[in-house]
Amino acid sequence: MALLELAEVSAAYGPIQILHGVSLHVNAGEVVAVIGPNGAGKSTTFKVIMGFINYLGGRMTFDGHDLVGRHPDRILALGLGYVPQGRVVFTQMTVRENLEMGAYLERDKAKVQAAMEWVFALFPRLAERLRQQAGTMSGGEQQMLAMGRALMMRPKMLMLDEPSLGLSPRLVDEVFDKTVELARAGLTVMLVEQNAARALEIADRGYVLELGRNRFEGPGRELLANEDVRRLYLGGGGGPAPTT
């Protein structure tokens, strides 16, 4: 049974429907990439899973539990970690405080401490900057902090929303290396990425969305080599033609 399963899921931002019956699944221990051109609904997929936006239909389950209608904090408690787009850290708080916020739902202080040790082992640079204000850190460090914070709940699966956004190529390397490291340590990862090539490089499987619908799926390597996938990005797939 898949760890995360979406079947024919539709979602909207207010009156504008973005997802039209998207289906995908993530098995435990996999790295799955969700890619597609702008407007494909990649980030929207995460948002409907987390319960942030208007759910219109379809089935969503995680670890056997139904996600539909669940509050975000309940979803986190099920073991689903989420790193939103854009390096969202609490800029006025220190690294330590940010991480503590990540474990907000955990009452047991010992567990929180243990989680923090684990995150420091994964991200030594964060340990060095324990008391630094998050807002003063570099983009790459903030991305690490955002990931570390999401890991504080020791999730079974981590959802990464466009981790490469706004980062220099070198930092993108670092972030993806870290992701691979986490995957090798047993974490299930689903990432939505604009940088399709990089994402598919590290993915076991991938889904290509277009305008809120499934277009392609398959092993990462295959999609990487598929010309049709590349062509999708530059409008090779039809659409409204001039009537004049």
Binding site: P15, N38, Y233, L234, G235, P240, A241
Partner: protein, 244 residues
């Protein structure tokens, strides 16, 4: 190969704009041909939005020129850019909500027409976009699609020579999009120049005669749709490059 010099209506030369340390636009140059529909595209972070803001006067360039009909308009405020004969629409509609459709149309300046004539012109354009029955309704009560049409009609009040469209397809259903595109072609047939900034590749590839592609703040390619879709640099810009 670009258009002959006397056919250029907007000549952007070595435009630069940095925010803090980030070079959003880093020497962008392109020449928009008169009387055609052109597209300006680029992945997220390409500097496309900043360039658009520089063209419309919302931002002031650090250096470079924007020659409209041979005259440099770089650094002019939006109302001055408008007075030169360039109008723009907005990605998320910005109609005047507590004013009627007619009042929205009449808020435009520089008509140099007596009230009665201005009203007639407004009514003509309102009819052109099929909003005649909503003439006396508040802009805020219109549906999103109707607001897009109103904004479009409003931009045509002064009979501008150059129209800049900011993601006209955003949040718009297929039918309305077709309507808008038909009208855009209509305008082009009347001799107007249109520059579309868009994410929707189908719109760009199927309706633009010439396309300029930005990435990292510079133009990386230009040409007709067929050439752009095959251009490796463009594919790489959108799809991403594998780790070297």
């Amino acid at each position: 190969m670009g258009p002959a010099p006397d056919e250029v209506i907007l000549d952007v030369r070595d435009l630069r704009k940095a925010f803090g340390g980030v070079k959003a636009v880093d020497g962008a140059s392109f020449a928009v041909p008169r009387g055609k529909i052109s597209g300006l595209i680029g992945p997220n972070g390409s500097g496309k939005t900043t360039t658009f803001n520089l063209l419309t006067g919302v931002a002031t360039p650090d250096s470079g020129q924007i020659l409209y009909k041979g005259v440099d308009i770089a650094g002019l405020r939006p109302y001055q850019v408008f007075a030169r004969g360039i109008t723009r629409t907005f990605q998320i509609t910005r109609v005047f909500r507590e004013m009627t459709v007619l009042e929205n149309m009449l808020s435009v300046t520089g008509l140099g027409l007596p009230d009665r004539v201005a009203r007639e012109r407004a009514d003509e354009l309102i009819a052109f976009v099929n909003l005649g029955h909503l003439r006396g309704e508040y802009g805020g009560r219109l549906s999103y699609g109707q607001q897009k049409l109103l904004e479009f009609a409003r931009a045509l009040m002064t009979d501008p020579d150059l129209i800049l469209l900011d993601e006209p397809a955003a949040g718009v259903n297929r039918t309305l999009l077709q309507e808008l595109l038909d009208q855009i072609h209509h305008l082009q047939e009347q001799g107007k120049t249109i520059l579309i900034v868009e994410h929707d590749m189908n719109v760009i590839m199927n309706h633009c005669e010439r396309i300029f592609v930005l990435d990292f703040g510079v133009k990386i390619a230009e040409g007709p749709p067929a050439a752009i879709q095959r251009d490796d640099r463009v594919i790489e810009a959108y799809f991403g490059r594998r780790r070297s």
